[in-house]
């Protein structure tokens, strides 16, 4: 996802009062998660080894956000803007492949 695609023009004005907000908590726009960067929550960072990776895409299936980047059916990297460091990708990676390791942030 390019940096431009991550910019969301939220139709809901920040800190809008009750008279301005769409009713029912509805956000009249789809895909707003693109503008919400969970990466700021991260304390462990996944490190991906392209050499070991077999592109089985288990990490892509299990990632609870959209951090696993895939192009043409191949795993191509991790978008840390959407990675909160949960480690599910590393756990889902087949043990004999072990292409993702979680390391301490800043280590």
């Amino acid at each position: 996802m390019s940096a431009g695609e991550k910019v969301i023009t939220n139709p809901v004005k920040a800190n809008a009062g009750w008279k301005e907000l769409p009713i029912g908590g509805i956000i009249p726009q789809g895909g707003t998660a693109r503008g919400f960067f969970t990466g700021g929550w991260r304390s462990l960072t996944p490190v991906w080894d392209a050499e070991k990776c077999i592109s089985c895409l288990q990490c892509w299936i299990f990632c609870p956000d959209m951090a696993i980047q895939v192009e043409g059916g191949k795993m191509v990297g991790i978008d840390l803007d959407y990675c909160k460091g949960c480690g599910i990708c590393a756990a889902a990676c087949p043990p004999r492949t072990a292409a993702i390791k979680m390391v301490n942030e800043g280590a």
Binding site: A16, G25, I26, I27, G30
Partner: protein
């Protein structure tokens, strides 16, 4: 333009559940998701016959519980369809969690509820404990005295719920067995009249409009939740005018008039009973009897409990010397029932207000007889005569 009143021979002898199911057929909702429960079972059973006979275009979703029924109905409504369900008692209680989702998500669902006591002990008969327990869930509540009102309220509710100033779900009540299974004369509209009255439904943000994607049910923390709840408050306040406007239009169609409440011989009354649903009919009879004996008695039958028409109730009752507020449900606060608490609160800032007592009556279907109602008016007469209110919460028709 005055409506030509139909003669009684043009009425249909049907039960409350038949009347409600008939109205549902005429409404022809896009989706009905339901799970049966006594005494509301017949509503969906009869409606499913209409469905099987091809008389409605409805998608019927048969679910495994009332929680699922309400969930599916909310989903269907969010998708942009006109969605309905029906329930009673424990079924409504199982829906409780989802009732708040329906109102908070502003899905204009309309649901007939047949009032029935709640467990324990197990009981299938009428009282209002079920819907009174939902009074804070953000649903509009209309209580009907008989099968006719059950029918009329349901049709009007579609317009009330879907009004852009409201967009809140509505539940319309009939009394279990007394109304639901009792046959009465009901005046029915033609299908085309109902369709013309309710019009089509166009959701502002239909979830299935994939060209215009929307997000439903996002997390809403300290930053926005309060604003969204403030909107629900506003919608409930707005509902008052909409309820009156819709009633006026319905009266032009049918000749039958509705408001927040009906007053009966109240203008010069010194004593009044405030009551809702079927017991109001018996009370009306007793008012006539006691008036013949010279007692200045009247009645106020509450139709709209949510929103609560506090100002209008005060205006209608402030000249009365003593009122008895009847609750077919106990809030178990030790201080009486919900109507009693709210009506007395409405009078709090008034200089001139009636003496008031609150009666818990008819729990679990206990019959409310002419003698019971007479005894309440006699209690009120005694209060006026002595000036002593006495116990403010009383139980009518219970064995000591």
């Amino acid at each position: 333009m005055a409506v030509k009143q139909k003669t009684v021979a043009e009425s249909h002898a049907i039960t409350g559940n038949e009347a409600v199911a008939y109205a549902m057929r005429q409404i022809n909702p896009d989706v009905v998701a339901a799970y049966p429960i006594t005494p509301a079972t017949e509503i969906v059973q009869i409606f499913s016959n209409y469905h099987a006979d091809g008389l409605v275009d409805t998608e019927m979703v048969l679910v495994e519980s009332e929680h699922s029924a309400m969930s599916a109905t909310i989903g269907a409504s969010a998708a942009g369809s006109r969605a309905m369900t029906a329930t009673s008692s424990q079924g409504l209680l199982l829906m409780h969690e989802m009732l708040y989702v329906a109102s908070g998500t502003r899905t204009p669902i309309v649901m007939p509820v047949v009032n029935r006591a709640v467990s324990a002990p197990l009981n299938i008969h009428c009282d209002h404990s079920d819907t009174m327990g939902s009074r804070d869930s953000g649903w509009i509540q209309l209580y009907g005295e008989n099968a006719q009102e059950g029918y009329d309220n349901l049709i009007q509710s579609i317009r009330i719920a879907e009004h852009p100033d409201v967009m809140l779900p509505v539940m319309t009540m009939t009394d279990g067995f007394i109304t639901s299974h009792g046959m009465e004369n009901v005046f029915l509209l033609e299908d085309e009249e109902v369709q013309a009255f309710i019009g089509g439904f166009k959701a502002a943000y239909p979830l299935l409009d994939t060209d215009n994607p929307v997000t439903f049910g996002p997390v809403d923390f300290t930053d926005y939740y309060f604003e969204h709840r403030r909107q629900v408050f506003e919608a409930m306040v707005n509902a008052k005018q909409v309820i009156l406007d819709v009633a006026k239009e319905y009266e032009r169609l049918t000749g039958r008039s509705y408001g927040f409440f009906e007053t009966y011989r109240l203008d010069d009354a010194e004593m009044a009973i405030v009551v809702l649903s079927s017991a109001a009919g018996t009370t009306r009879f007793v008012v006539d009897q006691l008036r013949k004996q010279g007692m200045k008695v009247g009645m106020l039958k509450l139709r709209v409990f949510r929103p609560f028409p506090a100002t209008e109730l005060v205006e209608a009752l402030k000249h009365v010397g003593a009122i008895a507020i009847m609750d077919r449900a106990d809030s178990l606060s030790g201080e009486g029932g919900p109507v009693g608490a709210e009506l007395r609160a409405a009078f709090y800032n008034e200089e001139k207000r009636p003496k008031a007592v609150n009666y818990i009556y008819g729990l679990g279907g206990r019959d409310v007889t002419i003698h019971h109602i007479e005894s309440v008016y006699k209690d009120l007469a005694n209060i006026l005569e002595t000036g002593v209110v006495g116990p403010t919460v009383r139980h009518l028709g219970v064995r000591e």
